[in-house]
């Protein structure tokens, strides 16, 4: 029951993009096409869960006994960077079309604050191994949910004759704003 509440919290109330405003640049960058948004969500899901696991184990086996907790951020970035490099190679080999479509945004995951945010958050909140896995998995699902909804809306806006000044990023940010407004309805859904 505890894990269920944690999952709902990670996915809806504490949604990475729309409530915590993490990972905004891929959110705006990759959501032009639904297919690339899907690809990006899968890549982020894979990297996030893997990164959280690796960083969590490293923290508790290496940094904590040696009292080097302050090295946390640097080490996490190093791990995430190499993981993303790995994902990039795998994707270029397995599905070049998707690799081409994602383009610049794939290496961008390294500096994606959502992944680093989840990794550090798991440590900050002192989650055990299983809660950390649930938290990162459903956090990534929340990220995917927001990204897919947003990509659907942006694809629909392609047929809208918006005034010149609002085309592109401006209208997307407004849509994102209204989306997060709607997500605020979930606030107070789960105590604590």
């Amino acid at each position: 029951m505890e894990l269920l509440l944690l999952a709902i919290n990670a996915m809806l109330i504490g949604n990475l993009i729309l409530s915590k405003f993490l990972g905004i640049c891929p959110f705006l960058g990759v959501s032009r096409r639904l297919s690339t948004a899907l690809g990006m969500s899968m890549a982020v899901l894979f990297v996030m869960v893997l990164a959280s696991t690796v960083t969590w184990t490293l923290f508790y086996t290496l940094l904590k006994p040696l009292h080097l907790e302050y090295l946390r951020t640097i080490l996490f970035i190093l791990v995430i960077a190499s993981l993303v490099q790995l994902v990039e190679m795998v994707m270029q080999k397995l599905s070049p079309a998707l690799y081409e479509a994602l383009g610049i945004y794939l290496p961008l995951i390294t500096t994606n604050c959502a992944i680093l945010g989840v990794a550090i958050d798991s440590i900050e909140k002192g989650y055990g191994f299983l809660p950390m896995i649930v938290y990162s998995f459903f956090g990534a699902c929340g990220f995917a949910l927001a990204l897919l909804l947003f990509a659907g809306i942006r694809e629909r806006l392609e047929t809208a004759d918006m005034p010149k000044s609002f085309q592109g990023a401006a209208s997307s940010l407004i849509v994102a704003g209204i989306l997060s407004l709607a997500f605020m309805g979930f606030s107070g859904l789960v105590p604590g």
Partner: protein, 306 residues
């Protein structure tokens, strides 16, 4: 000494990561041609798609894949073509610097319309119903070409006719494929003389449809062989010609851009007025020249009379 431990930990994890990545990069190696990036730098980057590829990067890939055997980049022209040849080490077909020309002078008052067209907003739609003009080859004037021109070189003037400004035109040819009645053609940038008609209908139909239509009377070809008549319409193939030739045309369809720009010739009344004046002067001179030649033949006719 306690500073040593963090350094060791960090370098340790760094080394482990490095080795892992090196190993994986061998496992997942995918070849990518470096020439694609170099080609992309020298391309104009207009992404206009005139070469038939989806943007310049795609064109660069096409160049490498087909080793240069692709249509030339019209926007880049000669300069870009040479650089491509240099990178690919292959001879690229020479690219003529071209510009678009609307081959029609039938403004609303000169061309006859058929029925009153209602609820139509673009040329493609109008062409579906059969053009609003009796001449089915003439410019419809709703401006589909204006919308598609990347450098806004085409504007539709009051008389309902599209005119291309040669200085702004980069020769990408997007308007040529957009026009539903194909009355826009590509002509060399330095050509001075144009025949402003595209009607391939026989003379009878063209005369009924438009006051300034080319009825393939061949008078201009007699004056200057650079004019060629094919399927009922004349086209000029040279660079320039004697300005007198344009007065030979009974329907004033030929324009000489040294004297009046295409726009002025089609639109402004002033330019039309002094064109008529020049033509009248030329006609006088020609009549006088013909009269002078006639006396030489007079006695012969007189002789024959019984």
């Amino acid at each position: 000494m306690s500073i040593l431990i963090p350094i060791l930990v960090l370098t340790g994890v760094g080394v482990v990561a490095g080795v892992a990545l090196a190993y994986f990069s061998r496992v997942f190696y995918v070849p990518e041609d470096p020439r694609v990036d170099r080609l992309e730098e020298i391309l104009p980057g207009a992404n206009c798609g005139a070469c038939g590829f989806a943007g310049c990067r795609d064109y660069a890939k096409g160049l490498v894949a087909k080793n240069g055997d692709v249509p030339p980049c019209p926007v880049g022209g000669k300069a870009v073509a040479e650089k491509i040849a240099e990178i690919l080490g292959v001879a690229v077909a020479d690219v003529e610097d071209q510009v678009a020309l609307v081959r029609c002078a039938g403004t609303r008052d000169r061309a006859t319309t058929r029925g009153t067209m209602v609820g139509v907003r673009d040329c493609a739609g109008a062409a579906l119903l059969g053009s609003p003009k009796s001449c089915r080859f003439g410019c419809i004037g709703f401006g589909d070409c204006v919308g598609v021109c990347p450098t806004k070189a085409i504007t539709v003037y009051g008389g309902g006719l599209a005119v291309v400004d040669p200085d702004l035109c980069i020769g990408c040819g997007l308007c040529v494929s957009k026009c539903p009645v194909d009355c826009i053609g590509m002509v060399p940038r330095d050509r001075r003389v144009h025949v402003l008609c595209n009607s391939r209908d026989p003379a009878l139909v063209t005369r009924a449809a438009c006051k300034v239509g080319c009825i393939a009377c061949n008078l201009c070809t007699k004056k200057d062989p650079a004019f060629v008549v094919a399927s009922n319409v004349a086209t000029f193939t040279g660079v320039t010609c004697d300005p007198e030739v344009r007065f030979a045309c009974p329907n004033d369809v030929i324009v000489h851009t040294d004297h009046t720009s295409v726009l002025a010739f089609v639109e402004s009344e002033a330019a039309r007025a002094d064109y008529e004046a020049e033509k009248a002067v030329f006609k006088e001179k020609e009549k006088a020249a013909r009269a002078a030649a006639r006396p030489a033949r007079e006695p012969k006719n007189a002789g024959e009379q019984p």
